[in-house]
Amino acid sequence: MGQIDLHSLRGAVARSSPQPTLTVGAGVSLRKGRIHEVIGAGADLFAVMAAAKQGQTILWIALYRDLISLCPTGLQTYVDIQDMVLVEAVSRGELLWAADQALRAEGGFCVILDMPDQLSLKESRRLQLAAEQGGGLGLILLRGGVATSAAQTRWDCSPVHADHPAWDWRCIKGKNGETGAWRVTRAGEQQRGQNAEDTLHMAPAAPA
């Protein structure tokens, strides 16, 4: 049994260059080349906001019923519709294959996978490896509950009852311990003097 040199190991960890991250808003950042899980009723918006910040082609991979209800006349407020490509899969296998291909592809795309059920550890690990290869951003909308996964972070997002459209974004799992909670509103719909400490101002991505 050889002894592990902890010092050299720490040095190696410190030397490895930090992954590029994507800042969605003040304090909210997502690592690129990773997959992130999103749950809750506000998951769509979280994914859309993050994708808009990525500024790349967005691939929205979903089953027909989830894809057909997407409404560009609403999304246009947050994201450039020209960047969106919709991929309709007919089975779970196709969903995963398409997401894997899109994450793996050269170009660092933003991939939003609308998953109707859980993702097993093996599946999420495969997607994670694909994301590392492509360097893009993977956002997985989990509709059917969560399970142990290889994702970098997990977000619970829900719209909240407030005077203005607002959302609670809670990072409930982070590989590097990056958890936290944010109350998010959209700038422009904000009344002066009412900003809480933890309110995050977000500018609309495209002129409405």
């Binding site: 490509v85 919709l86 991929v87 291909q101």
Partner: protein, 493 residues
């Protein structure tokens, strides 16, 4: 003055069988077709003609006259294919050839005849070459299309010539049927005592037009060259295809890819030369035991890159089950489009667009191009008609923002809501098995559908509702009879 050569192929269906050395042609033989509810003879060979069978005769009569008669129904598709093959062959005589379906070709030979030593020699040469192909033909050469057609069909010799500028004299002796006018009109003219084109020319054209219609005088004028009637050549589209036959069957994936690479390189070289690309490629692999296996791939933009073709074919090729090997391959490029050359290596935007298209191709080839889509604005006022999803391949995405922001999810058809405490909008309701209470509501936004279309004609009232539970819903109600029913039309972010 243009010079037109018309080739008439009077026995084309029979020639097709002759070329296949059909043994039945030794005796009396006829091609038949169903016309006016009866099988009639359309073409008969020499032996049959000698026995008294004529074209247009009912089959029953022909059989009574000539009991040994053998027949075959006409095969329009194959005859057309033979005619089109001859159309391509006619390139050897003149670059401007047009099809004169169903049984002729028209060649504009202005400036070509001297290459064959004169027009008469050119006609003889064409007959000779067609004879080598076992095709019977008659040829007419004149100043006009109508004239050449008439001379080919009704001329005195195998090669009938009308000297330049002498159209009226050359056509005078020919019967009126040569003008390609309806059969009925020919018999009507015959009753009026007019049987040859010469007779028509001696009449006043205004009177002819009044009595028999403009069609007749027009045919006469174009045939005599009074009004121009040029040959509109339609060059057969070049086919980009290559095939390979191997002496021994192969079955390993590497070998298949090598064959494909050689075929693809050949086709792409030709495509590149013409500055074109193809959006679809089809590879036919002929296995020695199981026959042809067509494999198809598509591209989001015209492509002429062998590596890309190989990359996209790798998946279908790996799925192909070959047991005893394949020995015949054919690669065809389809949906040919011009390639606009652009600078590839510079500029982040161009690179990104390329990467996006490559991904669309990869996804589309596996799950179908109709499943990879983008949004397109449609400019209607009904919320679900404001946009459409269209195939992403071959479309430049564009979007102009709709005037009013809508929910980010739109349910079509809208989902029914169980109202618990009524109101306008309801104060308490259940949707998707969740209870909601209305806190604030904004509305109604009244939308009237397009009455001139076949769609739900009810007027709609939309309400934006902030629920106590946090979710912001777009409630829908049809004012009028069904005012009690509420629906969720969409969900805001």
């Amino acid at each position: 003055m243009p010079r037109i050569l018309s080739i008439w192929l009077p026995q084309l269906p029979l020639d097709r069988l002759t070329r296949q050395s059909d043994p039945r042609l030794a005796g009396p033989f006829a091609i038949i077709a169903e016309e006016k509810n009866a099988w009639r003879v359309t073409h008969a060979n020499d032996a049959a003609l000698k026995a008294g069978v004529v074209a247009g005769q009912a089959l029953a009569d022909a059989r009574a006259i000539c009991p040994d008669l053998l027949t075959e129904p006409s095969d329009v598709v194959r005859e057309d294919l033979l005619l089109r093959a001859l159309w391509r062959w006619a390139d050897t005589l003149s670059p401007r050839v047009s099809l004169d379906a169903p049984d002729g070709l028209l060649l504009d030979i202005s400036g070509c005849a001297h290459l064959f030593g004169g027009e008469a020699q050119m006609g003889q040469e064409a007959l000779l070459r067609l004879g080598d192909l076992q095709i019977q033909a008659q040829i007419g050469i004149a100043d006009t299309k109508g004239g050449a057609r008439a001379l080919a069909r009704f001329g005195p010799n195998e090669v009938s010539l009308a000297a330049a500028g002498e159209m009226i004299a050359a056509l005078a002796e020919l019967p009126i049927a040569a003008l390609n006018v309806p059969h009925k009109m020919v018999s009507e003219l015959a009753r009026a005592g007019l049987t040859t084109i010469g007779h028509l020319q001696s009449q006043k054209s205004a009177e002819l037009a009044r009595r028999f219609g403009l069609h007749l005088t027009q045919a006469l004028q174009t045939a005599t060259g009074v009004t121009p009637d040029p040959v509109t050549p339609k060059v057969a589209d070049p086919t980009y295809a290559a095939r390979m036959t191997l002496p021994e069957p192969i079955g390993f994936l590497d070998d298949l890819e090598n064959v494909l690479r050689r075929l693809a390189t050949q086709i792409c070289g030709r495509l590149d030369q013409d500055q074109r690309g193809a959006r679809r490629f089809q590879l036919i692999v002929r296995c020695v035991d199981t026959g042809d296996h067509p494999l198809t791939i598509g591209f989001a933009r015209p492509c002429s890159d062998p590596d890309a073709i190989l990359r996209q074919f790798s998946h279908p090729l790996s799925k192909l089950e070959i047991e005893y090997g394949a020995d015949w391959f054919r690669l065809v490029a389809e949906q040919i489009e011009p390639i606009r050359l652009k600078q590839g290596s510079f500029g982040e935007d161009a690179k990104r667009a390329d990467q996006r298209l490559i991904l669309i191709e990869t996804l589309g080839n596996r799950i179908g191009f109709d499943h990879v889509r983008v949004f397109k604005p449609r400019g209607h006022h009904v919320p679900e008609q404001e946009f459409a999803q269209v195939e992403a391949a071959g479309v430049t995405p564009h979007w102009h923002p709709a005037p009013r922001p809508r929910p980010i999810r739109l349910f079509s058809p809208p989902e029914f809501v169980q109202v618990e405490t009524p109101g306008r909008p309801p104060l308490n309701f259940k949707w998707r098995r969740l209870s909601f209470a209305t806190d604030r509501a904004h509305g109604p936004e009244r939308i009237t559908p397009r009455w001139y279309r076949e769609e739900d004609p009810r007027t709609r009232d939309y309400w934006t509702v902030q629920t106590d539970q946090g979710r912001r819903l777009w409630l829908l109600n049809y004012p009028g009879e069904d005012a009690k029913d509420w629906y969720v039309a969409g969900e805001f972010a």
